[in-house]
């Protein structure tokens, strides 16, 4: 417990620094899955560790100890966690859960709106062309999802590039990329340290769709040109107010498409997997340690109670509450009856 409870924090910090750098050079589809696993496992590890730390603090509050029937003194003697750490953990955990709730509601609202728009869009096929000169193109998840492209966007692309754009958006819908995005957003809401992971995830999804479009069109350069031309056209149409939020994502995508497809590599995935396994194992270890600690604190209180109560209350020990646990308690009663 002393060390293992902090391991998930270390794993989270390591992954949040390393993963975004690594995944940019990996094949995007496995990279996206790896990032999703990393986000999920570290979020669980993070929450679990905070909860354990917070619990050791909360358990020392006398009223709660009375309710839970364990010995505060025994806990204090054994407890390896500073009260400040426990209180801090409780606060961070509460803030995380509130922010997760807010993010979840917002996500759900956006998804419902997207679904409604999908149904309301004119036409019965997947593609919905908007009669608008502003170049815009996006995939709208729903049942079924739709691809929304404006006339302006279609006009600024060549025939092959148009095909590439549609293949890209189709890949987003087929791969259910909005679910990945949603997972990253929610985990980042719970734990702000995971924000870089979410940002890297967004980029990896675009790369995934790019690569799938390249496979479909059969020419990486065509997709590169489609992405580049569409981005330049959109930039000309509306200068964004918040610049460089994306940190050059489009040039990176174009560069990746102009280069040969990324090589398959095993080492980063194995390393990541090991880190996540360590995270899970140490959380389990910390949880079982904490469980033992509560058990022994409970037993200490039982023993104390029995020794003080046994003399005066020996007669009516039938009413001895089911206060003390299992074997210990039964043993005591057995002895009384005998």
């Amino acid at each position: 417990m002393l060390i293992s409870v902090y391991v998930p924090f270390v794993v989270t910090a390591t992954l949040t620094v390393l993963a975004p750098r690594m995944v940019r050079r990996l094949p995007p589809r496995p990279a996206a899955w790896a990032l999703a696993c990393a986000a999920l496992v570290t979020a669980v590890g993070w929450t679990g560790s905070l909860a354990l730390l917070a619990f050791t603090g909360v358990a020392q509050i006398p009223q709660i100890a009375e309710e839970g029937r364990w010995s505060v003194a025994a806990l204090r003697a054994e407890d390896p966690v500073y009260l400040v750490v426990a209180v801090g953990s409780a606060l961070v955990l509460t803030a995380g859960i509130v922010s997760l709730g807010v993010a979840a509601i917002r996500q759900a609202r956006h998804l419902i709106r997207a679904r409604r728009e999908c149904a309301d869009l004119p036409g019965e096929i997947e593609l919905a062309v908007v009669d608008d000169d502003t170049p815009l193109a996006f995939a709208l998840p729903g049942a079924p999802g739709r691809i929304v492209v404006s006339r302006g966007m279609l006009r600024c692309l060549g025939n092959d590039e148009r095909e590439a754009l549609l293949a890209h958006e189709r890949a987003h819908l087929r791969g259910r990329h909005h679910l990945f995005q949603g997972l990253w957003r929610l985990t980042a809401a719970l734990n702000p340290l995971l924000r870089p992971l979410a940002a890297a995830g967004g980029f990896v999804l675009e790369r995934w769709a790019d690569e799938e479009a390249a496979e479909r069109v059969g020419d990486r350069t065509v997709v590169a040109h489609a992405v580049g031309r569409a981005a330049l056209a959109s930039a000309g149409a509306s200068r964004p107010t918040a610049l460089a939020v994306t940190g050059g994502a489009v040039p990176q995508r174009v560069r990746a498409l102009l280069a040969p497809p990324p090589a398959r590599r095993r080492l980063p995935f194995v390393t990541g997997g090991l880190l996540l396994a360590v995270c899970c194992a140490s959380l389990a270890n910390a949880a079982s340690d904490s469980d033992h600690m509560m058990d022994s604190a409970h037993r200490v209180l039982c023993a104390a109670h029995v020794s003080t109560a046994s003399a005066p209350r020996a007669a009516d020990d039938q009413r001895e509450p089911d206060f003390c646990c299992g074997g210990h308690d039964r043993l005591q009663r057995g002895r009384h009856r005998a």
Partner: protein, 115 residues
């Protein structure tokens, strides 16, 4: 096919639509798809000479464009739902992109001109 029609400057006969598609579709297949789109009201056609010319059915009320643009406003947390083809560019990105595309420009431009 719908995308090809929308990208065109005016109504197209089926033969020209076929030229604008990347796949190797038979002329009759193109005609079938076009007439199906016409049945669904997504394409309008006019008689011109011996055949028909096709153009996309316009959304007269055109609330759609406005709705779609409003969907894109307030991006950051809607991005989780919408997957946009391209994100915003900074001035520097734009410069880099121009360079990248011109370095590899021969292929793309040539193809565009061919059609």
């Amino acid at each position: 096919m719908l995308a090809a029609l929308w990208a065109a400057d005016g109504p197209l006969p089926a033969r020209r639509v076929r030229e604008r598609l990347t796949g190797d579709l038979a002329y009759t297949t193109v005609l079938t798809i076009l007439s199906r789109l016409h049945d669904k009201g997504m394409v309008v056609r006019h008689r011109e000479g011996r055949g028909y010319v096709y153009e996309p059915a316009r959304d007269e009320a055109s609330h759609t464009a406005q709705r779609m643009r409003s969907l894109l406003e307030g991006i950051p947390d809607r991005e989780a739902v919408l997957a946009r083809f391209v994100s915003e560019l900074s001035a520097q990105d734009e410069h880099v992109l121009h360079q990248l595309l011109s370095e590899h420009g021969g292929h793309g431009e040539g193809e565009r001109r061919k059609r």
